[in-house]
Every structure is written in C-alpha cells, then in structure tokens.
Symmetry: C2
Subunit: 355 residues, 2 copies
C-alpha cells in the first residue's frame, strides 16, 4: 500500500466532499448512492485520475477478505451463520475466511493481533465468553469489528443479538400448552453468554407460567457439545423424571434424546424434547426435534451488513440489532402422540385429551 | 518483507550450507535436526547476526497462516479434518484459516489467486472435483500446496489419499457376512473424485463376492448432502427392496435411514445401513450408523505434516500417502437383531442363526 495511492484516493475524497471509504466503494463498483457516485467520478475526472487504475490500485490495498471467527466450527449453527455471511459479503466482492477461536478468550485476542497484520478488511466475531480483555481488545482495534452475541451496556461496537430469554419463554409456553408440567433444563456452561441468558430465561419462564422447578431439574453441561450432553442427560435422568426437557442447543438435545430413548422412554410420548438454534441436526434427528430458532441466519446477514457499512464508513455510530426468536415445531413435541409409559410422573388427565 | 532481510537469511543459509527454509525453521524454533540447527547458529554468529532479531524479522515476512479449503464446511468430515490440521500446524506456530470452495472448480482457482497475494504460507485443498484447470493452477503456483484426494497419475503435488475402493469392499464383506444379499448403493455424483471411486469400489466388491446388483439398486444422489439423500432414498425404495443400503457418506446415510424408518421398516432388522467417513453424525444417529472410516483425521494430519515440510523445503520431491480404511461398526448393522418384516427378500435360514 503506497503513500501515493492513499493520497490519490484522499484527494478525490476531499474534492468530492465524501469519505475515503465512499471513494473506494464507487471505484470498486460496490453499491453507493448515485449522488455520491457522481461526485466521486466528477472529482476524479477533474483531478485527472483514471478511475480504472485507481480501482485496481485500491484492490491491491484491500485484502478483499472478511474474517468470521466462531467458537466451534463443529456446531451447525455456525455453519448456518457462515453461509449467510458468505452470501452477503460475496455480493460486495469479499471472500469469507473462517477461524475457530475455541473456548479460550486469548484465542480471540491472538486472532485480532493476527488479522491486524493485514489479512482481513474486517471481522465478525461470535465468542462464547465476552471477557474484559476481549472487550478491551475489540474496542482498541482499528479493524472494523461486529460482534454476534450480547455485549455489556456501554460498549460501543456494532452488535447483533439473539433474544434467548424470549426464545426460552416461547418453548416453555408451548410445552405447557401441550400438557407438560415437569420441564427440565439442560443448559451449557452458565459462564458463557448463551448459557447465562438461557438460564435466566428458563427460570423466568417457569415462574411466570406457574410451573415449579427444582435444582434436580436443572443440569449444567460442561460444554455445548454432544459428549457433554450425554453426561448431562445421565445426571438428569438419575435425579429427576421430567415429562419435557428443554436443551440449550440442538447438539445437547440430540444427546439427551439418545439417552432418553436408550432408557426405553419414548419421544414425544413419554418425554418431549426441545432444542435451540434450529439447526439441521434438529431436522435430521429421528424423531425430528422441535427447536427454538434464534435467527442465526438473519443475525449473520445483519452482522455482515453492519460490517460492510463499517468498512465503508469507519466513523459511523455503532448499532445494536436484536433478532426475534420463533419456535420450529417438529415431532419431539407432537401433541397427537399417546403416552403409555412414565405415567406416574403426570396427572391422569394429561394422558388423554391431547389430540 | 525487505530485500535486506531476505539477503541476511540467504547469507546465513549460504554460509551454513543449508536451505533458506531451514534457517527460517531454526530461527523460529520449529523442529529441525540438531546438526542443521548447530550449523545455522554457527553461521549466524560468524556473520555477526543476532538470531532473535532475525527471527522477529522473519516472522513479519511470514503470514503464519495455513489455509484449508474444503468443498462444504457443513459436512462433519471436514470439521474432523479441520481440527486435525489445526492441531498439527498450531504446534508449528501457524494459525489455521478455513475457506469453503463450494462445488465450483473456479472457486479453487480464485482462492489460489487470493492466497498468493500473501494471506497464507501454504494451502491444503480438498476439492470434490479435480479439473484440468485446477491441476494447471495448482502446479503453477509458488504457494506450497497439498491436496487431500486422488490426483491423476503424473501430477507432482504432495497428495494424501483415502482408499475408498477398499473401504467399500470392507463394508460389502461385512454386510455379506451378516447375511445381507441385496446390497443397494446410494452414491453422490459420479463426476466427483469420491463418487467415482466409490462406485468403482461398489461394483468390484459386489462382483468379487458373487453378489448380484442391478441398476435399480444403484442411485446417484445429486450431491453429498442430506437433502439429496432424502430424494435418492425415495427413488431407491420405489424401485427396489434391498436388505442393506451402503451410502457414499454419512449425511446420505442419515437421510436414507430417515426415509427407511418413515416407511415402517426397521434398522437394522429389515434393512442394514452403512455410511462412509465415520463422522459424529453416524455416532449420534439413533440407531447409530456403521460407517467406513476413511482416516479423515489421519489424512488431515498427514497433509499438514507434508505442507509444513514443503514450506520448510520448497524443493523437496513430492509425496503421495494413502491412508487405509477400517469399519466402525454400530447398531445399524447389528447381527443380533431379529428380523420380522421384509422376510420375502431373504432366504429363511438368514432369519435365524445370527447372534
């Protein structure tokens, strides 16, 4: 990136009365308002610059890469996000590269150190844990950043959030409507952003709907993974006899269903199961699993849009978008199923009358 | 990367009588033979260079990034590969970035164009289709490249291969040993590297074991995806009554099992199912699915090792490694199961005597 190139673009920007980023967009044929485009072309012409050559030069300066950093590429919710981000940024001429940051907050810091060396024009992060160190790093980088996941109040970063609390509430409401009363909760670690929000949501939903819950009915898996879900389900079934199990993601739900059916219980007749994230896993499971859709594709698209806007105009005010959840109903909570086993745990009238 | 730095390292390499890459490895504390390390340190000392500063300078010249390009990040076989590559390259001080190339061969060419601009020190590719264009691009790049997947004879690139043919043969042998005779095959597209190899393997295995197969028993899914598997399974079940279905990957197997059980057939009692790749999907399925393990983790680790060796010494001769397959047996081919339905398709003696 030569100093000469920078000043050429800067001169055009100055003359046109627009930002350097706007000049870059126009010369790279990215979407820009017609009035801005006209100003840029006019200024370039007046200064005697050949837009094509400038665009080529700009392209060299840009990496044309957008990085997406997720906690676990093995979780299909991130695959959905990846495809959605890729679609949006490709249209704008960028290539998506993916990094797995794992569970270690230091990974995020290291990744930013690395990206700042010039491997991406911006980054979308979806960390499991938001530490003070990560926030300090994110707010000090010159790299355009968008965070998918909730940030503490007062942090001025572009931010796209799910509404886990409402999502959990929708699931509990539906389970109650189909006659379930003993709704257990298999959560991921509560020191994570989703784990914390989902536990709060579960407790609030149970209380507001007059459903009792005890410590026996709540199990915290060691991670948001299938293996952790198997262990958590063993713990839960050893200490409680729920007629419904809400799981903090679909990997946990698939694991819980495996353990439940291995004990001779039927899904949904004896136990209803609900996952979260509405991934392919929930759809491919047999029976298919009802899952709270937290708008992963929509969040990812919105994050990509915010990042492109930030790249174009680094000085724009930060934005926070909250995407609303909905329930994708499948076989694991079907109402029509007759319930033959595990009757003791429920009142007799619940065994009939659901159709 | 300054010319000064290059010549400093080159001078040390020349004096030590080793390659520039070896100097780089020693100064970056990467694994190197003790004799080479001693030569490099001696030469650096004699020339009055401070190894630490040189190492820092070298680090700036290197991207410290390795790219892994896969056809579909949503396929868990690639997640396995990603984790395995990441482990190996991290130990050597590199960060892994992932790119999805999709089904379009042009994507691979574009990706290489991009990486050559200096975003990675090397790339591991696992394309679904190996076109002449891709080979031309791969053999002309100055970027260290390793291909996971079979290459045409005579292509001098580091290459790690699965042995799909043997893998399919092991599966067919096992199905025959458990009394299955009507073994159908749900393949992915035959114009892909795995699709072509797996079809060849299926036909050879059936013939060599004296098992008849007809066109009705072979369905080519439009892709290696779950959705394509659902369609293929509908076609297969409409035209044939197999007692076993071999699927060209686990996503197809999960889809086939869903269709089979939706028709009231039991797995494994009525129909045995075998997948390929031995991913988490096969393990998480209910019943769990027997799958041919094509050594995805081992192939990925080997590819990472070859790439690190190539980065160290760009002039070393190219290597081809073939990883042997094995069968991960699970519930979907269990022998003990009694077979009540679909009896007509088999000889009576097969209904008993398996335990």
């Amino acid at each position: 990136m030569s100093v000469l190139r920078k000043s050429t673009v800067a001169l055009v920007a100055q003359r046109a009365g627009v930002s350097v980023a706007s000049v870059s967009r126009v010369l790279n044929n990215l979407p820009a308002s017609e009035s801005i485009a006209a100003k840029v072309r006019k200024a370039a012409e007046e200064l005697g610059y050949v837009p094509d050559a400038m665009a080529r030069s700009l392209k060299v300066g840009r990496t044309e890469q957008i990085a997406l950093a997720v906690a676990d590429v093995g979780n299909p919710v991130y695959v959905t996000m990846m495809h959605a981000v890729s679609e949006v940024v490709r249209e704008a001429g960028f290539r998506l590269v993916l990094s797995s940051t794992g569970n270690d907050p230091n990974d995020v810091v290291e990744l930013l150190d690395n990206l700042e060396r010039g491997y991406a024009d911006g980054v979308i992060l979806s960390p499991l844990r938001i530490t003070d160190e990560i926030i300090a790093r994110l707010t000090s980088t010159r790299l355009p950043v968008v965070v998918i996941g909730s940030l503490p109040q007062g942090v001025l970063l572009d931010n796209v959030r799910a509404d886990s609390r409402t999502g959990v509430d929708i699931a509990v409401a539906r389970l109650k409507a189909t006659g379930r009363k003993h709704i257990a909760f298999v959560n991921g670690p509560v020191d994570t952003v989703p784990g914390s929000a989902r536990l709060t949501g579960y407790l609030a939903a149970m209380e507001s709907r007059g459903l009792p819950t005890t410590a026996d009915m709540q199990v915290e898996a060691s991670d948001f993974t299938y293996a952790a879900g198997l262990e958590a389900a063993q713990v839960l079934t050893a200490q409680a006899t729920p007629d419904a199990i809400l799981c903090a993601n679909d990997l946990l739900a698939v694991a819980v269903m495996k353990v439940i059916t291995s004990k001779g219980l039927r899904v949904p007749e004896d136990v209803a199961i609900v996952g979260m994230d509405n991934t392919d896993l929930a759809d491919h499971a047999n029976p298919s699993i009802t899952s709270v859709d937290l708008g992963s594709a929509e969040r990812a698209r919105e994050a990509a849009r915010l990042l492109l806007a930030r790249i174009e105009d680094p000085s724009r005010p930060s934005e926070t978008t909250v995407v609303s959840p909905w329930l994708a109903e499948r076989e694991s909570t079907a109402e029509g199923a007759s319930r033959g086993k595990n009757v003791k745990a429920r009142k007799p009238e619940l065994e009939e009358g659901v159709s």
